[in-house]
């Protein structure tokens, strides 16, 4: 059964320096509150996995939490670059960042294979791409039945998965609605999982085929209202597209980034951050 913890306790208990951490949410339901708590607790040497690093990993990389990034699209959606990610890759600031990059299809398959307990994922992918030349985790195998050449990548098996969802019931069953991305797969692929939710309710109000993650498949649940801002939670609040555009200016420069981080993360508690 999932344990109900404060966000501070969940992060301090279940995320350690050096862990491989997957914080998912495909544009929607990105677990920003948890990311900020990881920054506040000054976790280090994390291997961060995420299809779209987005602002959350830009902030964590700029804050010095990461030593390695596994990803498939590292931009600020519709705006441009992730400047902290670029600064780490191009200039090694604040520390050198190793990167391993895939395509979306490969990462989606790798998460699903992780959830399925398989060592690898197989897909019809990477044909003609240079990505296999720079990522030694992309191999090709021959289908034993047809002889077709297919791409293979290792499954994603993180130490910890962190996701945000709309709500949990009092037993700790979680409902994810809207763009459900890869969250269920991330939780099931990981050894441990932290789920932040907008609220706890008596009844999830889930339709029969809804994306519900049972309590017994989750390690810890923390309430974090507005915990995915400036991303969004369908049914609760909209994506703050204006902030995504402002971020370009904040993150472009190391000093403005550090001032932002101090004011909006370090000088706030988990509860204030949520409010």
């Amino acid at each position: 059964m999932a344990e109900f913890l404060s966000l501070q306790d969940a992060v301090s208990r279940y995320i350690s320096n050096g862990d491989t951490v997957a914080m998912e949410g495909f544009t929607h339901l990105i677990p920003f509150a948890a990311g900020h708590e990881i920054i506040r607790q000054e976790k280090r040497d994390l291997t961060l996995i995420r299809m779209t690093p987005d602002l959350i990993y830009d902030q964590m990389i700029g804050a010095g939490c990461a030593k390695k990034l596994i990803f498939s699209w590292g931009g600020n959606p519709g705006v441009g670059s992730l400047h902290r990610l670029r600064d780490a890759v191009e200039k090694g600031w604040p520390n050198k960042l190793e990167i391993l990059e895939h395509s979306h299809a490969a990462m989606a398959n790798a998460y699903e294979a992780g959830a399925a307990g398989l060592p690898l994922a197989v897909l019809r992918g990477y044909v003609g791409s240079d990505l296999p030349k720079v990522n030694d985790q992309i191999k090709f195998i021959e289908c034993p039945f047809t002889g077709e050449r297919l791409a293979a990548v290792p499954s994603v098996r993180p130490d910890v998965a962190v996701i945000h969802a709309q709500r949990a019931d009092r037993k700790g069953n979680v409902l994810v609605e809207g763009i459900i991305g890869i969250q269920k797969e991330a939780v099931l692929a990981a050894k441990r999982s932290i789920v932040t939710v907008e609220e706890i309710v008596d009844d999830l109000g889930a339709s029969v085929n809804a994306c519900v993650i049972p309590s017994w498949a989750i390690t810890a649940i923390a309430v974090a209202p507005r915990g995915s801002r400036p991303s969004y939670a369908l049914g609760y609040y909209d994506r703050d597209n204006a902030f995504y555009q402002e971020w370009d200016g904040i993150a472009r420069d190391r000093e403005t980034f550090q001032a932002w981080l101090k004011e909006n993360v370090f000088e706030k508690t988990a509860e204030e951050g949520a409010a």
Binding site: W73, P77, S103, R124, S129, D130, Q245
Partner: protein, 257 residues
Amino acid sequence: MSLEFTSSEMMSITAARALNNDMTCFVGIGLPSEAANLARLTHAPDITLIYESGTLQTRPDVLPLSIGDGELCESALTTVSVPEMFRYWLQGGHISVGFLGTAQIDRFANLNTTLIGDYREPKVRLPGGGGAPEIATNAKEVFITVKHSKRTFVKDVDFVTTVGFGRDGKARDNVPNIGKGPTVVITDLCILKPDPETKELVVTSLHPGVTRDDVIEATGWEIRFADQLDTTPEPTAQELEVLRDLKARTKAHHSGQ
């Protein structure tokens, strides 16, 4: 009596015209999304638009800033998980057109969205592949729209993120279960199509007011022109009105929150 329009508007409207009602289009964010929704709001009201965030058959009222804006989900027929999107709907063969943008494109329509310079020591790090590498091979054909400049149109891309026809034009030969690849590239200057034999991009139509020299100047290789070189039809008043309304609505929406 000629209408006033910008080269960007000419590009979006021409790209929109490449789409039709019967297509199932996997839409990239940015210029492809603008063109695809313009098509839906003008001549192709029943076109099926699919975004990689899992939104199937979506009809957004404003253009999404990201691939996963709430608007896409709320106006979709249904929303599936990301692995389902890539495995069943794309790899499963349900996409007729992949519509992509790019940072760099070369004479064989290979796309680079990974980096400029050397991989280990990049001059400029770009976002990376995202959905494009598999959209380009698993969709039945690929349309590309991108602004024309010497920086973008290079002889050989620094990195093949997403294959067009490979470094030699032959990357798709004898590969089973692969789409036709890029069939048209629409820029703010012209329309290009791959030569049926060599697969090298050839200009087939110049936009109104654009000269051969304009295209030569903006292309990083010795660009060829089709023997039968057309002039792209001008935008209509209705196309321009719908496009301008869409862009104004979108701008107000994204800055107003």
